[in-house]
């Protein structure tokens, strides 16, 4: 897991040592062997994901995706999801973590099927109750045929993303007594906000 410094998030130290740059199919083929399609997924993982070969997560993922695509082991059979206990996951927030078997591909068709499998998995249905109109909870019922979803960007790696709220406050005289601006924004109602603007 990541830790955080003043500047933001930092990765685990072990993930920064060795890099395979621009791994080509030929390179990966040499890593795997002459006939990668004959290797089982387990054998492949043991070979390519050994720490002495590659410790950079991005490179690992490139190798994994090349392997999956080149050997056509992608299948849309239901994936297995297992519930795992995870630190800091609050059950009151319905924040749950699962492990899954196989590779994950950043491919639209794969993602669609991946999410269908996820919401049809017994592990998720047993651990993630959904809300009812009567403010109760029930397990997810029915077979999920498709999932409507949107891809969210994750380019932000620091909480300084929200600093603009504070910075904005320094240029607003009316909010100076309630600086930072974020605090001023939390005025309970617009009347209180206007009152502060009139006073200053």
């Amino acid at each position: 897991m990541a830790s955080e410094s003043k500047e933001g998030f930092e990765p685990i130290a072990a993930a920064t040592t060795v890099v395979i740059e621009e791994l080509s199919s030929e390179d990966a083929s040499q890593l795997v062997g002459t006939e990668p399609s004959q290797k089982s997924s387990v054998e492949f993982d043991q070979l390519v994901f050994a720490p002495w070969i590659c410790t950079d997560p991005e490179s690992k993922e490139k190798v994994r995706q090349w392997y999956v695509f080149s050997t056509c082991v992608v299948s849309f059979l239901p994936l297995d999801f297992d519930l795992v206990d995870c630190r800091n996951l609050d059950p009151t927030l319905s924040l749950t973590k699962y492990t899954f078997a196989g590779a994950f591909l950043d491919d639209k068709k794969f993602v669609a099927q991946f999410l269908v499998d996820l919401f049809n998995s017994p592990s998720l249905r047993a651990s993630m109750p959904v809300a009812t109109k009567q403010s109760g909870q029930t397990s997810l019922a029915g077979v999920v045929e498709s999932v409507q979803y949107e891809v969210l960007s994750t380019s932000v790696t620091s909480m300084t993303f929200f600093d603009r709220l504070v910075e904005e406050g320094t240029s607003r005289g009316g909010f100076q007594t309630l600086a930072p601006f974020a605090t001023a924004l939390l005025c309970r109602d617009s009347h209180r906000d206007r009152l502060h603007s009139q006073v200053h």
Partner: protein
């Protein structure tokens, strides 16, 4: 909305909406802040800014895997995040509402999926 901060999060016509452009509003961290700050029908606001930041930071770190790109030296997020808005064949949310939230974060390197589900249920 009762305060300007939450109005900024949910109202695109807010006078402060320009602080975050459309792309930034599609950032997972922004959507997370929106879900935490606006929440469900029983969500109570905070008078202080720090509790919101702390809650979002912890949840963000719990759901995402980051790593240092050895080529650029920059911190990057390895996880893929999806906002699920509905399921065909099963009812995910009891009512259609902008405050419904279901985030799925996939860490392909560790082969884990973290799901956060929060449905808006009207109080009355």
């Amino acid at each position: 909305m009762a305060d300007l901060f939450r109005e900024l999060l949910v109202n695109p016509d807010s006078e402060n909406a320009c602080l975050f452009d459309d792309d930034e509003r599609e950032e997972f961290i922004f959507q997370l802040m929106k879900a935490v700050a606006t929440g469900g029908s029983m969500c109570q606001y905070e008078d202080q800014w720090k509790p919101y930041l702390d809650a979002v930071k912890l949840t963000y770190k719990d759901m995402l895997k980051v790593y240092k790109n050895a080529n650029t030296g920059k911190i990057q997020v390895a996880s893929h995040v999806f906002r699920v808005t509905g399921l065909a064949g099963a009812g995910l949310f009891p009512v259609d509402n902008d405050h419904n939230a279901c985030f799925v974060a996939v860490d392909p390197t560790a082969r884990t999926v973290t799901v956060w589900y929060s449905a808006f249920v009207p109080f009355w």
